[in-house]
């Protein structure tokens, strides 16, 4: 019973560290199983070529999902991701060397693109916190606004990114590792540190865990909520820029499909939508599962219609099976 495992919780550090980082084994196991399965089922799955394509396909999703983790830990949601990515990709491309206008801000354009995301995050946070609107609705609205702004900037024709040094970030690679993946890893590391060592990170857990109680402790909740949304927005901004680097254009539909995939990645990793539990590390696992699944199903040549169905089933099974032993009799599920 509880007392005993309390006292005995000192040793076995390594395993605990891994758990704290990637969550309670479950999803990790699911990932390993999938990788094992596909490696057997397809000769090409475990090749260098596929390895690097897995990395590229993972990187942008990972960045989006990492950002999303911060608001989901609060128990909130950010549906504006696709709109934000659209806007930031266009802002970025239109400010860098492009075939629409003669601006050429180079790396400053990248910053501008990312900041566009941060601004959306700030807007989301402020509206949500100070007008007390559920994040779900705020971000549904701002998402539309993001698409709208992008549509106006787009002006009927996707502007192309002409800055070769930037383009190289998109498809270049460093020692076999795609540069996009390297960016993603950097984002991941920063996010891990922020979540473990800063107030935004830590209070995020507490706010998501029990906001009422958090109020009693006199912490300025609003500030940290807004900050979390800014983090999410910024990540979406980065993702928008990454996508533009990868595709060589700024586009309204550039974020298409990332929203639900990212939410799935986060929750699949083991971050609870009700808030309080989870973390960026777990999101890595979740995103990896999704990427491996999509890639693997194509490799073993599953019929496209069936792919959607299989993905759906595997996601549910992964969570249900790995969580089966954790079931409790008295429990709020949501």
């Amino acid at each position: 019973m509880s007392r005993s495992d309390l006292v005995s919780s000192a040793p076995g550090v390594d395993l605990r560290k891994i758990q704290r980082l990637f969550g309670t084994g479950g999803p990790l196991v699911a990932l390993v199983v999938l990788v094992a399965f596909f490696s057997l089922a397809s000769s090409t799955f475990f090749t260098l070529g596929n390895g690097s394509s897995l990395l590229t396909q993972l990187s942008i999703l990972l960045v989006v999902a990492i950002g999303l983790t911060f608001v989901i830990i609060l128990g909130s949601l950010d549906l504006s991701i696709e709109g934000v990515m659209a806007s930031s990709s266009l802002v970025f491309v239109l400010l860098a060397a492009n075939d629409r206008n003669d601006s050429d801000l180079g790396f400053l354009a990248v910053i501008a693109g990312v900041l566009t995301g941060s601004l959306f995050g700030l807007l989301n946070g402020v509206l949500h916190v100070h007008l007390k609107i559920p994040s779900f609705m705020v971000t549904l609205g701002t998402g539309a606004i993001g698409i709208g702004i992008a549509t106006v900037l787009f002006g009927g024709r996707a502007p192309r990114l002409m800055d070769d040094s930037l383009r190289d970030l998109g498809f270049g690679s460093l020692g076999g590792i795609p540069k996009l993946a390297i960016i993603a890893v950097i984002v991941l590391t920063i996010a891990l540190l922020v979540q473990r060592f800063t107030r935004v990170g830590r209070y995020g857990y507490a706010i998501g865990g029990d906001e009422q109680v958090m109020k009693l402790s006199g912490v300025n909740i609003n500030r940290y909520k807004v900050l979390s949304f800014v983090l999410t927005g910024t990540a979406s901004g980065i993702a928008g820029v990454m996508a533009a680097l990868q595709l060589g254009v700024g586009d309204v539909t550039i974020g298409g499909g990332y929203l639900f995939t990212a939410i799935t990645a986060v929750v699949l990793g083991g971050t609870a939508l009700v808030g309080g539990i989870g973390g960026v590390g777990r999101t890595l696992v979740g995103a990896a599962i999704i990427t491996v699944l999509a890639n693997g199903l194509i490799l073993i040549g599953v019929n496209p219609y069936v792919q959607v169905a299989v993905q759906g089933l595997v996601i549910v099974l992964a969570v249900a099976v790995t969580g089966w032993s954790l079931r409790k009799r008295v429990r709020a599920i949501k």
Binding site: S42, T44, T47, G49, N50, S53, T56, Q57, I147, A150, T151, F154, G155, G156, R157, A158, R160, G170, F171, S173, P178, A243, Q246, L247, G248, V249, D251, V252, T253, I254, G256, G257, A294, N295, I298, L299, G301, P304, Y305
Partner: protein
Amino acid sequence: SSASDEQNVPGGGAESTGEVALVQGIRSLSNSYHANWAEGGDLFGASIGQDVVVLSDEGDSQKQLSLVKGLAAKGQVFALNIDPNTSSDTEAIVRAVTEAGGYVVTQWNKPADLNPWDVSDNWVAHISFDGTGSGTEVSQALFDDMGGEGGIIAIQGILDNVPAKQRFAGLQAALEANPGIELLDDQTANWSRTEALAVTQTLLAKHGDKVKGVWAANDEMALGALEALKAAGLAGKIPVIGFDAVPQALEEIQSGENRYVATVSTDPWWQGAAGLSLAYQAASGAIDVSKLTHEQRAFYAQQTVVTTENVTDFLAAPSAEAIQVDIDDPFARIVSAIN
């Protein structure tokens, strides 16, 4: 006006106000194909000195239908030139227009067994493009560029979309004619650049250097595939083709550096201008719909395979004069009756 729409006299609303409202129905202005289509409509509007309303449904069938129904509110006869979201929407749209006493020209999507003359004179015509034919043609261009030898991968559009299917059918027809070419794999990327990039990467990893050509059901996806090729250092080594003639594809074809071999142009400006003109002429009584032939009311229009030879003709919007001929005779580009 409610009296007039109870018993729906075609053009019943006409009495209320003289002028015919001009309306374009497109998915959204956020893709260059439909943007150009809208541009074409404006050219027509300008030619008769009238503004054109653009309804964009953001790919939401129900919204599109509500918008069309909303047109009745203006209590004014309208001429609608619309690209139904999917073929399941077409019938509902044309019936709604009929009830409102407007006039509509639909393009691209319609159920095979439903024809304008079965519904009403308010459904002026349906214009489409024989994806199978152009599909065969453009695929041939790809195969020729490959020297008639080697394997290709095909990236499909949204699976329940008619043009997507025709285009793929075209590819298969071309494969029949070219035994030297092998279709290694086909996958959908839902018309999306991003998805196409991922799919191509995966298929390249799967089939390695057996891949000698990339076939994509539209330019968006072809351009996505091209980025995948760039990343793999294969751009310029492996030829690519697409459909729709979006500006960036045309530029790629023109520059030629990345071996973007060909695309197919349905001339969105024409679709916007001629389609709207046809609906307008019906609404204003210039043409009597009941006297039109079946071929005139459901036809495949011209489309062109764009390669380095002819690319320059498609780079920019046509001039007002250039398009006037099509405005005057919307039927000028009939290729054949549908089915």
